[in-house]
């Protein structure tokens, strides 16, 4: 009985992942073909890289799925330190700036994004910490403060890059994990209230962030100016209608939507495949969240529980954030769609995370 259950979750997770990544590879090509053809004189530039990273990612996924997840509890601290080390490297000549942000490391032909690994490292660390200190979570000094102190450097690095999207995602996942683990609402509430002024200060200090927030409330005020991205994204989604314009036939990727193969891939899906494409993606992510939740509940121990929940939240909230931005529900902030958008580091790390979920699914608690 329990073998069957375990079998079911394992395969449904794997199939969902394969569908998402496969879908992503096709859409990355459709969205980037023309612009990369112009920029790199190679329409397959992004496609080739995406396929390469997907291959690497799936290899790691299968490797990790055969690898007892408890091992991650042991390496959680080194992983965290390694992740911080990568951030520090951004200051070195290895760091690469693009589009006003310093988010990438160039090592030979490879480009890495430390923030992606940071997400997984934080989730693993928090899972380890919360499973170990779950009895003391209600206490401030021993249960609540340590994770916050460890989170601080990540948030500072991410805000410095700047990569507000990832910072918010990491904070949200951590916050929710602490909440689920039983942290006192008063602590969480006061933390939230304390962070608000800092948050506003951060946004209001930068004109472009302020503009984004302002246009969120009035997207049509200046269609050619600040609200441009939201407007273009809405046009892409809406003009796709029910059936879409057909794969590859969308026009919004023709430089109307910036970074259409990463930050606005969902809009391109909507334009080319219509509501069938968008609802299919939404369904896959919802299914993934459900399976992750189920997996967490059935996991054998607290570490497994927090790890599965953390990874599920990381992928699920990432998807919600991306889709919400594309539809003008959240203030415009480019975040990639997990497993679908172009981006080597993001894809590999997400697939590694799914690998962990798969391993958890092979060690489910026996039900009587």
């Amino acid at each position: 009985m329990y073998l069957r259950e375990q079998f079911k979750i394992y395969h449904s997770l794997l199939i969902t992942t394969v569908l998402l990544v496969g879908f992503g590879v096709i859409m990355v090509y459709s969205a980037s073909g023309i612009s990369s053809g112009e920029k790199f004189h190679d329409p397959y530039y992004f496609l080739k890289r995406e396929i390469l990273w997907a291959t690497v990612g799936f290899s790691l996924l299968f490797l990790i799925s055969r690898f007892d997840y408890h091992y991650f509890a042991k390496i959680s601290k080194p992983l965290l330190l390694f992740s911080i080390f990568l951030f520090v490297l951004l200051f070195s000549p290895l760091g690469v700036s693009a589009g006003g942000a310093r988010r990438w490391l160039r090592i030979g032909p490879l480009t890495l994004q430390p923030s992606e690994l940071a997400k997984l490292a934080v989730v693993v660390y928090l899972a380890e910490f919360l499973s170990r200190k779950r009895k003391k979570i209600t206490e401030f000094a021993t249960g609540f403060l340590p994770p916050l102190i460890l989170l601080a450097p990540f948030v500072i690095f991410l805000l410095w890059e700047p990569d507000l999207g990832t910072a918010i995602l990491i904070l949200m996942v951590s916050f929710l994990l602490l909440f689920i683990a039983g942290a006192k609402l008063s602590y969480l509430g006061s933390l939230f209230l304390c962070s608000l002024p800092a948050f506003f200060l951060f946004i209001y200090k930068s004109p472009y962030r302020r503009a984004r927030i302002l246009t969120f409330f009035q997207p049509c005020a200046d269609p050619q100016g600040i609200g441009y991205q939201i407007n273009q994204s809405l046009i892409a989604l809406g003009s796709g209608g029910i059936l879409g314009k057909g794969l590859g036939k969308g026009a919004q990727k023709l430089f109307f939507l910036p970074e259409s193969h990463t930050d606005f891939i969902f809009s391109i899906v909507g334009e080319e495949l219509g509501i069938f494409g968008t609802l299919f993606l939404l369904f896959l992510f919802t299914f993934l969240i459900c399976q992750g939740k189920k997996l967490a509940q059935d996991s054998r121990d607290a570490f497994g529980y927090f790890l599965a929940t953390g990874i599920t939240l990381m992928i699920g909230l990432g998807a919600i954030l991306h889709i919400g931005v594309a539809m003008g529900v959240f203030p415009a902030k480019g975040t990639p769609l997990p497993l679908v958008s172009y981006g080597g580091s993001a894809l590999v790390v997400s697939l590694m995370a799914i690998g962990i979920l798969l391993n958890i699914s092979t060690q489910l608690e026996e039900k009587i």
Binding site: G182, L234, G238, L254, R300, D301, L313, I320, G324, E365
Partner: protein
């Protein structure tokens, strides 16, 4: 996990977890609703916005059909021509560009600079350049200067048939004449295609695009014969010059079919550059100007009297020695006649004699015949701007009308109405509708449409033949238009000399002289109208218009190779014999 669930702490954890996922699924549901809203309900609105952003409609003009004469000779044709425009944003050196353009185009440099300074993407500089200028400028590859192929309307024969053809504007839209009347046939359908543009306003060629092939306009075959038109124009020009008339009109028509073979007006214009002529030159006076028909109308009165059987050609009428008082109005003849046969009354154009016949005929019948001969109503010729003339309804008649109307006063008619009225006599009693457009052909030369003669028998053949023989007398020695005689052919016709109304009174110095006649009289090939407005020095229709009629008729009959009748007195009697036989058959 089971052990964890036993502790109360974890029960709360379970609740908290459910709470988190409840929020997450609520957000997912909200996103779901938002997707449906955007992609289903806002679809049309956003699709329009997208189209506005991505698509550019490019139209390419249709090739306008040609206009040909009845023998297929070209009268109007569209030729490709390049037009020059500038895209101000892309001009790199405005000064230099303006210099070059002003050199080739002969336009003011300051004007060009002004156009180049406009904040637009597209500004016409000069349309439809000639080939040489285009090639010279094209070679220079000036940035921001572009060409666009258009069609230029060309009238190779210049002023020939200008009033019939009319002209088209620079965009190929017919503005007057046949160009306007048949614009829908000529213009064809312009083709288009949708271009997809990227955000940098560049055209993306690789993506599929919608397009529609245009269709070429249809060719018009007019009833006009270029040669006849040429003769008409030449002879009209001569007489127009000779008599210093203020205006002149000549029409050549086939009396049986209503086909207009030639139609000319003076003053005239060149349709290649209509803008350089005064608007009054552009007017097709044959259909837009109103004249009193004068004596020409006496034929209608005579036709009515004969048809109604109230008089016979040989009946004699006392013509009051040239001056007759009727209801306090004096009616004059140009010569004092005593007793004339009805035949002579018409031939000599006696006003008094005609009026007396009309009195016998009565107002109602006269009005009825005037109507059926087409007065007071548009002829329906296929040209724009025709007026219907003036024929007052019976209840508006004055007590004097019954003697004014029969001699062609108190009535206004266009030259085309006059010629159509006389054509009834020429063709044996049928009113035919005049027309210009003979055939419509598509680009493959297939006939798409053919005009059929519309005619209506309004007087009997017998009456028509009787009147023809009376009208033949007009051009005989004793008639009013001896100079209309064409050697070798019998001619029937009627002069008209109408006083113009100046300040509400009949003028004694301004006349409209006209002659309408047809030949060969017994089987007419053509009916010709010549009308001169305000001729100087002479004004009798028989002296002014008849010689021009004669020349036109002589040349046209020769051109049409109508066998000469070689008329001598005996032959003519023979024809009269034949005519009588025809009568007895009926």
């Amino acid at each position: 996990m089971t052990e964890l669930f036993r502790s109360g702490l974890l029960m709360s954890k379970k609740r908290r977890e459910n709470c988190v996922f409840f929020i997450i699924f609520s957000v997912v549901f909200a996103l779901f609703c938002r997707i449906c809203f955007l992609q289903i309900f806002s679809f049309r609105f956003l699709q329009k916005k997208a189209e506005k952003e991505h698509l550019a409609l490019v139209k390419f003009p249709a090739f306008r059909g040609a206009i040909l004469d009845r023998k297929g000779r070209l009268l109007a044709v569209s030729l490709p021509a390049e037009s020059l425009y500038v895209s101000p944003k892309f001009i790199q050196e405005p000064e230099k560009t303006a210099d070059i353009l002003s050199k080739y185009l002969g336009e003011e440099k300051s004007g060009l600079l002004k156009k180049m300074g406009r904040n637009e993407n597209f500004v016409w500089i000069k349309r439809q350049l000639n080939r040489e200028d285009y090639e010279k400028i094209e070679e220079l590859h000036l940035p921001g200067v572009g060409f666009c192929e258009e069609f230029k309307r060309v009238y190779p024969k210049g002023i020939l048939a200008s009033h019939i053809l009319g002209f088209a504007d620079i965009d190929g839209k017919g503005l007057s004449g046949a160009e306007r009347e048949n614009d829908a046939l000529l213009k064809g359908e312009s083709g288009w295609y949708l271009l997809i543009k990227d955000a940098k306003r560049r055209v993306i060629p690789s993506l599929e695009r919608k397009s529609k092939e245009g269709s070429q306009g249809l060719d018009l075959i007019l009833a006009i014969d270029e040669k006849i038109q040429e003769i008409t124009e030449e002879e009209l020009e001569k007489v127009y010059q000779e008599f210093h008339a203020s205006a002149a009109t000549a029409i050549v028509m086939d009396p049986f079919t209503g086909e207009i073979l030639g139609l000319a007006n003076r003053p005239t214009f060149d349709p290649n550059s209509p803008g350089s002529f005064s608007p009054s030159f552009l007017r097709n006076r044959a259909i837009t100007d109103l004249f009193e028909p004068g004596s020409v109308f006496k034929t209608v009165t005579a036709a009515a009297a004969l048809e109604e059987g109230i008089i016979k050609p040989i009946d004699r009428i006392f013509c009051e020695n040239g001056k007759w008082l009727y209801r306090n109005h004096f009616l004059h003849d140009h010569e004092p006649y005593k007793n004339l046969s009805f035949q002579e009354v018409i031939a000599e154009s006696s006003n008094i004699g005609t009026a007396k016949v009309a009195l016998k005929l009565g107002e109602e019948d006269l009005y009825r015949y005037a109507c059926s001969f087409g007065f007071g109503e548009k002829t329906g010729i296929d040209l724009p701007g025709e007026i219907k003339g003036i024929l007052r309804p019976l209840n508006k008649w004055s007590k004097y009308s019954i003697i004014a109307l029969p001699i062609g006063q108190e009535i206004g008619a266009t030259p085309i109405q006059n010629i159509c009225a006389l054509a009834v006599i020429a063709n044996g009693g049928k009113y035919v509708k005049p027309y210009l457009l003979k055939e419509v052909r598509n680009s493959e030369g297939m006939v798409v449409r053919q005009t059929r003669t519309e005619s209506k028998q309004i007087i009997s053949v017998k009456t028509a033949l009787t009147l023809t023989s009376i009208l033949k007398d007009v051009v005989k020695k004793e008639g009013t238009a001896f100079s209309a005689n064409v050697y070798g052919y019998s001619v029937a016709g009627k002069t008209g000399t109408a006083q113009k109304i100046v300040a509400g009174r009949y003028s004694h110095s301004k006349f409209v002289a006209s002659f309408i006649g047809y030949a060969p009289a017994d089987n007419p090939k053509i009916i010709v109208l010549v009308m001169l407005d305000e001729p100087k020095s002479l004004y009798y229709g028989g002296l002014v218009a008849a010689p021009a009629f004669k020349e036109i008729t002589r040349r046209v009959l020769a051109y049409l190779e109508v066998p000469s009748e070689n008329l001598v007195a005996t032959n003519e009697n023979l024809i009269t014999e034949n005519t009588k036989k025809k009568y007895s058959h009926e």
